[in-house]
């Protein structure tokens, strides 16, 4: 392994950008376009899906059956992205998503993975001490709730379909969606009224 790889990261990036631009492999314009495309994905997309699922049983069923198809049906672009698996929280089971090997994250519907999701502490602890991990967010589940941890090791990306909080009768989709965060859709928190 060459010592060149040990160059300062900013310096390495600058050098790589220079070479790739000169070789017409990655130009500045292409980088700008890729960033703009990525910025369109955010947790608001996933939140829309969750809110729709809370209101529409047919959409909920589709989401659990084929997450990418459900996302596409709401105009969330999923072409070329990995399959999306959706994990339904119930009265008795709470789901938690982790990637112990790296940081696999449902970017198409949640945007960039958060710092904590990529951290050594989260990746090491989630599968073994999920209650302790949830406690970092002051999340306490009802007594008797079983926690299912899903380690994303291959081609699927996983998101949680949280339970609809009480006290939201009559709320429209946008208002329901505003309750749902990226943390809820990974499972370290649950949606609650503000």
């Amino acid at each position: 392994m060459t010592a060149l790889l040990e160059a300062d990261s900013d310096h390495l990036l600058a050098a790589i950008r220079l070479l790739l631009a000169e070789k017409q492999i990655a130009t500045d314009d292409e980088i700008t376009l890729a960033r703009e495309r990525t910025d369109k994905a955010s947790p608001a997309q996933g939140a829309r899906m969750v809110a729709r699922a809370w209101l529409d049983p047919a959409f909920r069923a589709l989401m659990l059956e084929d997450g990418a198809k459900a996302a596409d049906s709401l105009g969330i672009p999923m072409l070329g992205l990995p399959p999306l698996g959706v994990l339904e929280n119930t009265e008795t089971t709470h789901n938690l998503v982790v990637c112990t090997l790296c940081s696999c994250y449902p970017r198409g519907v949640l945007g960039y993975p958060p710092f904590w999701f990529k951290s050594v502490g989260y990746r090491a602890r989630a599968i073994r001490d999920p209650a302790g991990v949830l406690a970092e967010w002051n999340t306490v589940l009802p007594a008797g709730t079983a926690i299912r941890v899903v380690d994303s090791t291959a081609d699927y990306r996983w998101m949680v379909l949280p339970r609809r909080p009480a006290g939201t009768d009559g709320w429209d989709e946008a208002r329901l969606a505003s309750l749902v965060s990226a943390e809820d859709m990974i499972g370290v928190t649950v949606p609650a009224l503000p």
């Binding site: 310096h11 790589i16 990655a26 960039y112 958060p114 050594v120 502490g121 970092e136």
Partner: protein, 104 residues
């Protein structure tokens, strides 16, 4: 009890590993820097053009010596892996990279 401490696990394969179970978790949002977003975009372009797959990216990250792996930030690991893979695939040469580093 040694638990998993004697398994020949790869250094990035950290699920449940005792040494990291005492790590706190920084739950604060960290804004992505220009560096982060640029490296991320570069990876997408290289993936889209079949120059480097996400699997190759991961392999390159996993090849980083453990001390460096733990020291580098997430996207710093990425740019190091990208450079490693571009060299390995012959997309760039060491001489070219050396010269580019001197120019930047």
């Amino acid at each position: 009890m040694s638990e998993m401490s004697e398994t020949p696990r790869a250094m990035h394969d950290i699920g449940g590993v005792p040494r990291f179970l005492c790590e706190g978790i920084d739950t604060e949002p960290h804004t992505l820097t220009e560096f982060d977003r640029t490296v991320d975009a570069l990876r997408q372009i290289l993936g889209g053009k079949k120059v480097m797959s996400v699997d190759e990216l991961r392999r390159g990250i996993e090849a980083i010596p453990e001390a460096e792996y733990l020291r580098l930030s997430y996207y710093q690991r990425w740019i190091r892996s990208i450079a490693d893979n571009l060299l390995a695939r012959g997309v760039i040469t060491e001489a070219e990279l050396q010269a580019a580093l001197a120019r930047c």
